[in-house]
Subunit: 425 residues, 2 copies
């Protein structure tokens, strides 16, 4: 049993419980409360720092670390077709394994304890998650070019029975990459398992306009009409939504996952988070992949979620930090279907420790506002996933030497870049 | 003499010089180049990390650390009148001294080596700068309520002859807080010393509209017509500019200092940086004060400078990172009039070391893009100002125990908050 003492704990109700301690037994939270006697393998003096549930990165593409700073400053369609797809075509299962591990290292530096990951190599990703001790919900990425409804169903069964840190949800890439017949087949699988389905949705204006041309309706309407979201699910981005779209999201209990940094960088727009929140749509937050963000930091995303809303709404009171933290912790857990939404006895021990002994966290007029408005990765003192400490004081405990991992990922990247010369340029 | 070896150095031309070393003698850069023999007091193995000129925080209000997370989620006028001014009225010289030190600690965590600081207690700020070893250019803050042209002139003489890390520039708060007669007096001082003048300018739409009502012209036009900017200067924020304003900025060689995080958070808008840059106006970057940002991180500002332009221009290629780094390093130095714009023999030794051995910096497809798009304070391994190391591996060397400083700033904040009860609420 591990004992965290001398803590301040962010409670289920987003209040700060002073002078608290938290015990972890195996992979769960055993006790939260005032000091009492116990026997422990390790006792960690938190020095008054904040224990909070780890952040949930509700949309990402982990293996894309190799494309960080490779294809920047381009609009989404050129970025995808000219730079990302040709490089991805050269990626192997083994590459994806190491590149995912690099993303995991970055997640835990940012207090992230689980990620909702959509990519092409579910097996490599699942192995990387198992081997690092991180937690992920994999999301199907079916489209016209890769994978199929059949493979999706196989993955759904396989990776929901793979290891305790891995789960799988039905999903496809996006309307603009996936024919209607494939969507219909996925709808049938969703119905058979009464399972949620997730996908990219309404990320750019162009995507929505072309969908309307093709199908006479928006992506959200199309997914709804095809029965794809009858059992819930998450829609990623949700930048360009109609009133009718928002009604459907609410009615079908969909989580709208926002990716503010990526939407800025690719000039896709600012998602209507305040409107969605007021209309009662559940919001979660994701980094998107390292090729389009490029950081995998939940501090950046949380800050942008609120700061950009103020610009969008022309209202400095829009989307307050307290709400953003709820999105980043609780709502992300709902989207992924994991039992780690808050710090509570019996919940999974997915915890991060916020170092308040840094200038950007002082003074403490409002701790939650400090975290969202001033916080950064430098404030992550420790990250625990499933009861194991994966990151502490700048050191990584992910079953892999970090320098060796950097070297491996650099050599993968160089190999793919070399192979691309002459075809890309 | 201090030797940094095993470095990659960001050159004057924003290229990376591999396998380099850099020597610091007293407060200056003595040598940059390949290995050669020398005698040193200390030799620092940089492990392949990037040595670059420190970031210049070209607009801030350092002592406002006590207001961090105190008055968030309000528009500029209510934020200023209802929350900031009543709290500031209770601030003492001694308070400002410690609160500035807290800001300095935060700056050096973010690789910032100098700041252009506008606030009410120049003496307290100058003392804090001298005692920490940081570098600041103080900016006059004259307005209808505090200070005067006479005091401004006295400060100009005094703090340009105070200590080698401190300089002073003429300045006033803003048009909307300063009567025309005061502006005219400041114009006369500027003329007498042939000195630049700096001020807040065109931060909100309301400010510009009211200035036009009062004076029949925009703030930039007014300052120009009054001869205030005949010898250059910096205008802070520059969010709402007309074509004519932009022409004036160019003609008078003014630095437009952008504060993207603050402009978002207060819903002031997105400054037209791409337009200014294309029109040849020099741009620098500042954090603004901790009451309106709330972080004092140049990584946040650099990221937002480019990311928000992409949204504003609806163009993912807008304002590339390479340009943003130049604004954050070189142009800020120009604004402050300090000889620390780049790493070059003879320049002031204001240096920061970027830790590339972190997951967010890997792989290295493009180091400058990594710094702007993925970098954060966790990547600052060391910060040197004027030849002295003020921050290294998370430890502070600013002549003050950091925990004592936190405690001091917390108690100042609590005292002022208590004194404000009953008057504010």
């Amino acid at each position: 049993m591990i004992r965290f003492y001398n803590c301040r704990i962010l409670t289920e109700n987003y209040e700060i419980a002073e002078n608290s301690e938290l015990w972890v037994k195996d992979n769960k939270i055993e006790y939260i409360g005032k000091h009492k006697e116990g026997v422990f393998e390790r006792e960690i003096d938190c020095k008054g720092n904040i224990l909070m549930p780890g952040f949930k990165n509700a949309h990402t593409h982990s293996p894309m670390t190799f494309l960080r700073s490779y294809a920047d400053d381009l609009p989404l369609d050129r970025w995808l077709n000219e730079m990302v797809f040709p490089m991805e075509a050269r990626l192997t299962e083994e590459d994806a394994y190491y590149l995912t591990k690099l993303a995991v290292a970055e997640y835990i530096c940012s207090g992230i304890t689980s990620a909702f990951d959509m990519y092409l190599f579910p097996h490599a990703t699942a192995e990387a998650v198992r081997d690092t001790g991180f937690r992920m919900t994999l999301c199907g990425a079916v489209n016209n070019f890769t994978s199929s409804p059949k493979e999706l169903e196989e993955s759904y069964i396989k990776y929901n029975n793979y290891c305790e840190n891995v789960s799988f949800q039905l999903g496809f890439h996006a309307e603009y990459t996936t024919d209607r017949s494939i969507l219909e087949d996925i709808g049938a699988i969703a119905k058979r398992y009464r399972a949620p389905v997730s996908a990219h949705c309404s990320e750019t204006k162009k995507e929505v306009e072309e969908c309307i041309q093709r199908h006479g309706k928006s992506p959200v309407e199309l997914f709804n009409d095809l029965g794809l979201i009858d059992y819930g699910g998450s829609l990623f981005h949700c930048v360009h939504l109609s009133d009718k779209d928002i009604e459907i999201l609410k009615e079908k209990d969909i989580t709208a996952v926002t990716n503010p940094a990526s939407n800025c960088k690719l000039a896709s727009g600012i998602a209507p988070l305040s409107v969605l929140d007021e209309r009662g749509v559940r919001l979660a937050i994701g980094t998107d992949g390292p090729a389009s963000n490029n950081a995998l930091s939940m501090f950046r995303e949380m800050y942008l979620a609120t700061a950009l809303q103020k610009i969008r709404q022309n209202d400095a009171s829009a989307l307050v930090p307290e709400r953003v933290i709820e999105m980043a912790c609780k709502n992300g857990a709902y989207a992924m279907g994991t039992d780690n939404d808050c710090l509570k006895e019996g919940r999974l021990a997915d915890i991060t420790v916020i170092d308040m002994h840094r200038p950007n966290m002082q003074p403490e007029n409002n701790i939650l506002k400090n975290i969202v408005y001033s916080g950064g990765n430098e404030n992550i003192a420790l990250t625990m996933v499933n009861g194991s400490i994966l990151y502490e004081k700048g050191e990584f405990y992910i079953g892999e030497d970090i320098e060796r991992l950097y070297e491996k990922c650099r050599s993968i990247t160089e190999r793919i870049k070399k192979a691309s010369v002459g075809t890309l340029f």
